[in-house]
Amino acid sequence: MEQSGLGQRPLRPPQLSRPSRPARPVRRGPSGRVQPVAYLYLLPAFSFFAVFAVAPLAHAFKLSFYEWNGITDQVWVGLDNYVTVFTDPDVRAALWNSVILIVFYAVLPICVALVIVGLMARVRIRGRTAFRAVLFVPTILPLTVVAVAWRWVYAPDGPLNFGLDLIGLDFVSRAWLGDFTFALPSMGMVGTWVTFGLVFVLFAAGVQKIPSQLYESARLDGANMVREFFAVTLPALRGEITVALILTVTAALRNFDLVFVMTRGGPGTNTEVPSMFIYRSVFQIRSIGLGAAIGVILMLELLAVNLAVLWYRRRGDLSA
């Protein structure tokens, strides 16, 4: 019961990177037991959650075991839809594409943001607030707007190619989104552009709460910039990195808007993602069970990745 009162806090180095674990959330009665009335307070939020999240989820799960076109009777097919999903090479390719997109949506922006944040710890940047606001703009833009804008940027006679031609790189310019090699990376870069602002602002805020004494002592100990980054900045940002990972990985895996507006999965099947298959299965092929099955698998994939991130973080916490 070390968190029973501030005065009794044992003399330990302050926990810098994360807020101390909150006190137990449930209010206890005199006997130390949960008062039943406490659950009443949960009811409004939970009923909302149940109606709009749990019920549809359960319904989709049920539908994934049926063959159904939306009109005629549902036919129980057991695991057939799942078998179809796992034996269809196109779906497997789409799942793999979504993994590649994680690199662009999550890994790349986090790495770049960490480097910049590390630099900022040493170098004073003028107009930091304005800088941050501008970087955050892509995050608040609707993705369809982003997609339309970037489709224009990547167009054969768009600004990107114009710029490349201008500086003599005309052999590089191409129809980016129609190119079998570059379509997926091109779309991925848009994801990086979108998520970078969020990640950067998260990290920048995280850095600000690191006490400057830590940097001072690191510098007194003769740490150079790189050493300082790994010894002070990075450990302090672990909480922010976890949040950033969860948000960006989720965005990568459930990516639909960008693909739908920019390429519809093309050229060929090069930028196919699972959510496009859900859309097609339900609205074009009208195989709602198949769409539901892909949806369930996508959800499990998301859940697994996020749990892995959380588990890794918790393990880090315990060993710290």
Binding site: I71, R174, R264, Q284, L302, N306
Partner: protein
């Protein structure tokens, strides 16, 4: 985050449900007294002007009838229409779409009425020519496309043909009378430093319309129709079709299409053509108004001459079928209205809103639309209609869009293209 990670299906179903509730709420008070009758029409938004004209005429003939029209843009329409038709408050008249995914579904669900009796009563089959209406036929169980009962009809032609830049073509030669002449003009255009065929294939289906023309040049239209309708033994892996695929590859390799064709959006390609890039553009007649506005007298149109004999043909069909729903309160009245839409008299009105009537129209139409209408009439007269290949199976649209991109991008060759497409067909019809 949990709610966000929900499957999209559920979200989309929720949207449909919401829409059904709203539409039910909006149309709940239609059924008033005995005298006045309200016809509920659910239509694709492209027919807004058509419906305005038709309903005005119909109300003049039947003053007690009024209309309640709901319009939705194409993509939306195809997503929500089956749901609305199977809801508790369906419309009396609604658009469908040829093929398994919409019309087949509506027939299977028992949501629309057979029109054979009305067709006999109004003489539709004779008027449109034998076979033309097969695209609206399904067997009673909704599984055999192109055969059996007539479930819908539309009098508007949606034909793919060849638009051309008159100035540029004049510099190269005259109108081609045969496919060989057309091919030669492409080579001449390339030599002259022009883009022979304007095309933007970011969506995948625009190139399909071009391929359909080449296909029609090498195979009889009836064979292609049989394949679309899933007749036993039909295949695209034949020697004649290989020649077509090889010709398409030749066009690709010769650089007859714009550079980066898979990265150009369809709308942008139309804009490029208007701006003077491209001698020809093989595209649907729904572009007529846009081109007329953008190019004026410099835009021309002809039906593709398929083969050496000079007959014309190619990818073409009639527009989205009008259906009468099984819950229509007065099916006879609904049929009367549909007959007005497809009647010869209404053909002139169709032209006035820029649509091409499949039944010949006597009025003087001017400009590009006249050429387009003449082209459509010629294709019908030559029995060159090959329908839309993506109707063949529920998954064919996706297969064809990705495969044409791969073919144009050089990822696969013509032989692979045909094998992949046939594999889809075999899976559905085997």
């Amino acid at each position: 985050m949990r709610s966000r990670s929900l499957s999209r299906v559920v979200k989309i179903l929720a949207v449909i449900l919401a829409f059904m509730l709203v539409s039910a709420a909006c149309s709940g008070d239609d059924d008033t007294a005995d005298g006045p009758v309200v016809l509920d029409v659910l239509a694709e938004a492209g027919d807004e002007a058509t419906l305005e004209l038709a309903t005005a005429q119909f109300t003049e003939m039947y003053p007690h009838v009024s209309f309640n029209i709901t319009l939705r843009a194409f993509d939306d329409y195809m997503q929500i229409a089956p749901g609305i038709l199977s809801s508790d408050d369906p419309p009396d008249i609604a658009h469908g779409n040829q093929g398994y995914t919409i019309d087949g579904l509506l027939v299977q669900g028992g949501l629309i009425l057979p029109l054979d009796d009305y067709a006999a009563q109004y003489g539709w089959v004779d008027a449109f020519g034998d076979g033309t209406l097969d695209q609206y036929r399904f067997t009673e169980d909704g599984t055999d496309f192109g055969n059996g009962i007539l479930w819908g009809i539309n009098g508007v032609a949606e034909f793919v043909g060849v638009y051309y830049n008159k100035e540029k073509l004049a510099a190269l030669g005259g109108l081609p009378a045969t496919f060989e002449e057309f091919d030669a003009l492409l080579a001449a255009a390339k030599d002259a430093g022009e883009v022979p065929i304007q095309l933007g294939n970011a969506e995948g289906w625009p190139a399909l319309h071009v391929y359909g023309m080449v296909e029609a040049a090498y195979r009889p239209a009836a064979e292609i129709r049989d394949w679309v309708f899933g007749e036993p033994g039909a295949t695209v892996v034949t020697d004649t079709e290989r020649q077509a695929a090889a010709k398409f590859e030749e066009w690709r390799d010769n650089g007859y299409f714009p550079e980066g064709v898979n990265g150009i959006a369809y709308d942008d390609s139309v804009a490029n053509f208007i701006a003077g890039e491209g001698v020809f553009m093989i595209a649907g007649n729904w572009n007529t108004a846009t081109l007329d506005e953008g190019m004026g007298a410099n835009a021309g149109y002809f039906a593709m001459p398929v083969g050496p004999s000079g007959i014309v043909g190619g990818t073409a069909a009639l527009a989205l079928p009008w259906h009468i729903t099984t819950s229509a309160e007065d099916p006879d009245l609904a049929a009367e209205f549909i007959n007005l839409l497809v009647s010869e008299e209404f053909a002139d009105d169709l032209a006035s809103v820029g649509r091409v009537a499949a039944r010949s129209s006597d009025t003087e139409i001017e400009g590009l639309l006249a050429e387009v209408t003449a082209g459509a009439a010629a294709v019908i007269a030559d029995e060159g209609v090959t329908l839309y290949a993506d109707w063949a199976t529920p998954t064919m649209f996706d297969t064809l869009t990705s495969k044409t991109q791969e073919l144009l991008g050089g990822q696969i060759d013509g032989e692979q293209f045909l094998n992949d497409v046939q594999a889809d067909w075999d899976a559905a019809n085997g």
